[in-house]
Subunit: 242 residues, 2 copies
Amino acid sequence: MEKVGKFHFITEEYLLDFRGRVTIPMIGNYLIHAASNHAATRGFGFSDMNEKHTAWVLSRLAIEIMRYPERSEKITLYTWIDEVGKLFTSRCFELADESGRSIGFARSIWAAIDMETRRPTLLDIEALSVYLSDRPCPIERPGKIAPVEGKSEAIPYQIKYSDIDINGHLNSIKYMEHLLDLFDLELFREKEISRFEIAYQSEGKYGMPLTLHKGETEADKYNLAICHEGKAICRAAATWKL
Amino acid sequence: MEKVGKFHFITEEYLLDFRGRVTIPMIGNYLIHAASNHAATRGFGFSDMNEKHTAWVLSRLAIEIMRYPERSEKITLYTWIDEVGKLFTSRCFELADESGRSIGFARSIWAAIDMETRRPTLLDIEALSVYLSDRPCPIERPGKIAPVEGKSEAIPYQIKYSDIDINGHLNSIKYMEHLLDLFDLELFREKEISRFEIAYQSEGKYGMPLTLHKGETEADKYNLAICHEGKAICRAAATWKL
């Protein structure tokens, strides 16, 4: 089995945003599709984890896009594991267009949790290391994001049916969707997100009253947060460019 | 070219709801994928319409599901045109599981609008009629849905970036998502939607303040509406069963 997985997508016009471009949450879906299938065909997918009463949980994700795919574009997504530790594994992604040119990269950090206790479990370092690849991923790792709550307006949001996933928790992609919705449409018209980064801190549950926060830390750089009872369950950061 | 189009999907675990089942909006995405591709390969797809400065608009949709697909299920979706008129065309769908057994049907009504005036245009009856099929679709057509606004609580909602599609309007699938979110999670735990029907009346735009409405008309039957300034831009109905 190849270390690097390769997946093909064709963008669908009815899933594009108002500019006719693929959205960050949609790219998130592509990444998760690729990660799930890469893992499943190598013996550590959803079902394999499930048998051991564990589940993969996305802990951090950073996406950098040089050019957003447009209507009916054929894109190829490469994914590989670049680090395995006791509790976390790091998975990289490269997005290429039809001509083979890189249009984006992503880095993700995953933990395996016990399905009953929801606590992290030890990873099978030996088994995972077989697939370690040193293919380059030239973007910064997801890092620490400063708090923005308290310094910014708190937009209320309550978790709904459509927000929750098979584990009964706020879907990883929905966090992104709600945070991006904090930006005014004008900004999407004028600029583009060159880097989006998110750190999942605790699990959102149905009916949970949340507050959404956004603050500009320097020109075109924003920190974001989703809080429950004043405590962040997720932090994110977005960098915009012309 | 075959009259009936055939499309294959594998359900993805990270897109399932908390019960591990495919959602109605996700089925809506499958239907639109099949409709778009069936049309595109027969010369009346998104790009062909675009060249004539027209676009397909979904007018009505009824979905009946006997059994919801679950995790990693292979499903097949058949689609065909069953009626062509001056202004509307009717397209049917059948959803089958891996053993070939029917698990759902859908009926949809489409109009072609002029992209500048947003008004309906005459359909090319001759060209579309080549693909007419009399394959049976044993569910009721989408019909008239009684108003429910005024008799029910008005839940406010404002259209956001994630809600709008390539035409700059509220995405057809997002209408469904926001309406289904009106139901309490308990109902999804106990029962299942056997029929969901929606009629799109006018286009939602960014920032538009909306109200969402839900009323039970008889046991396990609900009418739904999305209104702007008191006028429905969309009506829907849902039937639940054990």
